[in-house]
Amino acid sequence: MCECCTQEKKDIYLPELATITKRRMLNGTELYMHLQLDSGLEMEYTPGQFVEVSLAGIGEAPISISSTPTQKGLELVIRNVGTLTRAIHKLDVGAKLGIRGPYGSTYPVEQAKGKDLVFVCGGIGLVPQRSFIRYVLDNRADYGKVTVLLGTKCYDMRLFREEIAMWMERKDMCVMETIDEAHDCWDGNVGVVTTLIPKIENELPNSLVMVCGPPVMYKFVLMSLAEADVPQGNIFVNLERRMKCGVGKCGHCQINQHYVCQDGPVFRYSDLADVPEAI
């Protein structure tokens, strides 16, 4: 045993076990899971951060935290998209997963106090944003107006429907939802999420705007926000990369000089606006 092991340095790649305590499908591809660490401890995290989730024998992947630290347990939403996520989808309540983290930067939870907040969410971009939205709702008096814009590709893909219905009933927040493709059961807005932005144009310049969605969405949302005179320093984006290690070593998530796993996933847009390959 060498010196650094005798110093009992932690193995940064060693996951701890967590047990699935609840699970349900949110739509055809997205699985919601509530986890409890087997250690009995609560993970200390801040909205915006992610964990590395693994299933021994299949692999490991970075997954955004969807819960808020103001409530117990860890909530994740996992899309069935590859080998690991397919295997996770087959797990029942009581099954175990490996968890490392939390990693990465956070939403500006402190700096945002007293400010008006706008959340622009495209598809599963709602998943990490939900962490901050719920955090704000649990500390409602600390923040100004809260506006949530939700865009989903089609009716059947919509996430957290009951929760969003509850948000819509609240008087202390404004939620607008749109779907890209019209549907018989839908009488709300139809169009991409950017079509909602003009509706809150007056509020935007004085708000902090949190944006998360698929890569293709950012360009259009950021253009609309620029047209609405939102300063780049007031925009926070939450980026997706293939963080293999989560600790700034493996190089996979690097965008120019930035490591998404350390400097991100939440970036202030003004820090990235001139960085090619970012979005």
Binding site: M1, C2, E3, C4, C5, K9, K10, D11, I12, Y13, L14, P15, L17, S54, L55, A56, G57, I58, G59, E60, A61, R79, V81, G82, T85, A95, K96, G98, P214, P215, E240, R241, R242, K244, C245, V247, G248, K249, C250, G251, H252, Q254, I255, N256, Q257, Q262, P276, E277
Partner: protein, 346 residues
Amino acid sequence: MSVNTVSKDQFKQFVAALIASEPSVVGVQAKGDRFVFDDLKSADALRLDYDVSILSPRKYVMPQKETLLKFEVGGDCQSVQDGKPLILLGVHPYDMAAINQMDELFSQDEYDTHYMCRRRQITIIACDVVSPSKNVFASSMGTATVQHGYDMLLTDVGESIIVEVRTDKGRVLMNHMPAARPASEDDLAKRSAVWEKNQHVLNKHVLECKPSYLPKLLEKNYDHPVWEEKARLCYSCGSCNQVCPTCYCFDVQDVVNWDMKTGSRVRVWDGCLLENFATVAGDHNFRKNRSSRFRHRLYRKGKYVPGKIGGQIACVGCGRCITACTADIANPVNVYNQLMERTDIG
């Protein structure tokens, strides 16, 4: 620190004693008409007159495939630290500089116990270059000689070898060298002459600026046509990454054993030139174009990694990528010099 002198015969006896008494000795030896680091079976096989090894000694500090964890499928994982005491004999200064950088990168921020435990068990006997390789440019990069990181440094001064002992680990090895005598003024002068010479002759490609200018140079040339011109010919084979002593990007994979019950999580070398290096779920590739991957490598060497390690340039001038590149486009000096032609870096 002490500096000693031994004859070449005495040095050979030292190597034989190491092989006989130490658990594992790796040294440079011939493989066909080239050289490799491999287990050393006899003192005669050691070739300290080598020009450059095919792969750098990075494969000992960060193996191509390294077990991080062992697990039961679907169950709990345990850490694996499988490093063993090892003597690495014949590390050139540029490769030593590369290992020094990796030591810093793996110990900063989040301390990587796997790398560091393995590294601490390695004793490095470095040696100054005797035969410059056909593509070396260490003189341009300031790595023709090295000042730290090794436990022992050898300098061939003709009839004898000067042995500098730098650490306690090196001092212990001196027990195998009873005939060593303290180096004379004359010996030290000869060693300085070798260093002086190597500052100039390890320079088959001449970088036309100080390496410390590279971050500034790159800052101004993100859209330079050279990226596309060169990358047009790139096969995206990743050979430049594999032979590079400072590349340390890796992939993490789960490998299941034949019993289908147990397995291990391993890290394996990866390369930013490979097509899917920056691909995320849903097949979106953030560096889809060859030119963006080609540029990324040279920016990592000249700007990004230096930003993490106090400005040290992450190209040490070994020239291996130049030799390995099938399309003959990987030469960092050619690219940086082309950027220089159009850039006023003040």
